[in-house]
Symmetry: C2
Subunit: 347 residues, 2 copies
């Protein structure tokens, strides 16, 4: 089976956007605040809204997408903490409903009500709710809730430890994913997302976080930002800092997805990053919407690139498409097993 570990709900019904607009308008004029968190979106509307994703699954040949709210929509820098918490619940609830309605196509990953300056502990109730009550298999963790100004302490700081303890306890990985940028110098999908990945990796390289949390698992999206391209630089900096080899220091805990939108990029990644650390993903209906004039295929049809990696054996390709995802997301594996989808092993 083919698991796409990185999809966002970017085809939300208008009612969700209207709710958010009312929420923010309500900060200025209470009369405009939404009167209820019931958006009045029916199950049929939800199913209709994800038809583009389902069509791409069929056309491109993937089976299941790990599905989370629109990343740029998380907006941790917007409004205040209370508004953010409400927005987070509403956004996660929609994801939960979609994954319940279409359990063969989607597994749920949530967002957290992070807010600059607020203790990370404040996110634990929502994390427990989505995992224990709604059956989510992972969560997105934003290393920069200030939206492009990098005001949070690095991921290795003890500020973050309470959420890591909970992640380990619940056996869910975190995808390190920023939200929109409110910094006019930093474009969201073209700079902030990629910089977020690179910065997070470097924070982890500098620290020794996984000595304290050997079971913690992070997925760094967008192919790890700049990291595989500069793999020699990172190996060299780690060596200059007297850190262990990256395999030992980070790669038991840090994984990369394949959201890199051209074959040469994926080829490089598969050359330098161990196959056990690569998880198939497309970020579909995400950052790039068009068709590559050089290939005639969608830029974000990343399965084609993985299929073209000549040097991979079937067992390795299976790891990228399924095995690694079931290992990194044990709650997904459990869900699938319960439905009779035993984890296949390719020799």
């Amino acid at each position: 089976m083919i698991i796409d570990i990185h999809g966002h709900y970017t085809t939300e019904p208008k009612a969700l956007h209207d709710f958010r607009a009312a929420q923010l308008a309500g900060l200025e004029d209470r009369a405009r605040a939404p009167s209820s968190t019931d958006l009045g979106i029916s199950d049929d509307e939800l199913v209709a809204s994800v038809q583009p994703q389902l069509r791409f699954q069929r056309e491109r040949g993937s089976d299941l997408t790990i599905f989370s709210p629109r990343a740029s929509g998380m907006g941790h820098h917007v409004g205040n903490e209370a508004i953010g918490r409400e927005w987070c619940r509403v956004s996660n609830d929609l994801i939960g409903r979609i994954c319940t309605l279409l359990p063969d196509n989607f597994a749920a990953v949530g967002q957290l009500p992070q807010f600059t300056g607020a203790p990370i502990e404040n996110c634990i109730p929502e994390l427990e709710r989505i995992v224990r009550e709604l059956g989510f298999v992972g969560v997105n963790l934003n290393p920069d809730p200030s939206g492009g100004y990098w005001k949070a302490p690095p991921l290795t700081d003890r500020y973050w430890y309470p959420i890591y303890e909970k992640l380990v306890e619940l056996e869910v990985p975190a995808m390190i994913h920023v939200t929109a940028s409110c910094n006019p110098a930093v474009h969201f999908t073209g700079a902030h997302y990629i910089n977020g990945d690179t910065t997070a990796f470097m924070q982890l390289l500098q620290g020794d976080l996984f000595r304290d949390f050997p079971e913690l698992k992070f997925v760094i999206p967008h192919g790890g930002g700049a990291v595989p391209f500069h793999w020699g630089r990172y190996r060299g900096i780690a060596q200059d800092m007297k850190k262990p080899l990256l395999a030992e220091h980070l790669l038991k805990n840090v994984f990369f997805d394949t959201c890199v939108y051209h074959l040469p990029g994926i080829e490089l990644m598969a050359k330098v990053v161990p196959v056990d650390n690569i998880l198939f993903a497309s970020e579909m209906l995400g950052a790039v919407k068009g068709i590559d004039p050089e290939t005639g295929h969608y830029f974000d049809d990343t399965k084609r690139y993985v299929d073209q990696l000549q040097h991979l054996g079937e067992a390795e390709r299976h790891k990228i498409f399924e095995g690694n995802a079931r290992r990194v997301y044990p709650r997904l594996d459990a869900l699938l097993k319960k439905r009779g989808r035993v984890r296949t092993e390719v020799a």
Copy 2:
């Protein structure tokens, strides 16, 4: 001949560091401010200080390094504008002296006295001084003088236009290079430098700067940050934004260096970036100091990687090693011609 377009003076005599320390101490206690900008460094000391660079030139087989002050030392976010201007002059003067003492080995690139919130016009006198009086062939331009908080407007903003007009008038390119990070979340060589490159490229992609400045030339160092690895993403975002193809939109004006510290990275770069846009560089005595245990060679011995690019013909390799540098840095070309080093053409 082999031109390395990206080297920093990271082996400065102690007197320079002492001067800077006194300058900054003087902000707190005027009695500690340096009494003179004459550092008392002799020519012999200067020549002795760059022996490590000269040894690497000999051992690795490069001829001339385009040499600029230590990038992390520029420190545009430190102190105040007046202190920064003095520091900038002192730093540039040392580079100028080294390049006069060893004209066959070094050509000079300067730093600018940028300061957050100060008009960029304030940098023009120093730019004119180093180019017209000291014979510098280029300059480093910092897109984030706030040192990791990205408080400056994007490079496409009219804020920057006065310096662009002067760069065009003087026929000198700018290397887009950040300085140290004062943001604890963002490591300098492992995150801020690479993010700076990626962010600058994306700013240029979003705008139409080169319509206003068709002669302006930017070098983006460190292989362009994450850009070649995500070449498909950038081509796709440009297309979604209805921009022309990158070749038309940016590549007449934007160039990348080869400071990527492993062969697979350089291979990727040479696969996606046109050969006319790649300039050989090592950033030597820079970010990574060690020997790669996988190859037994220094990580930053980037000439080895370029030499190993199988698919390049001699004419293409010559462009990367010499031709492109002489085209992008016309004042370097003029200097070399004056010394009888005619630009060789490889058919």
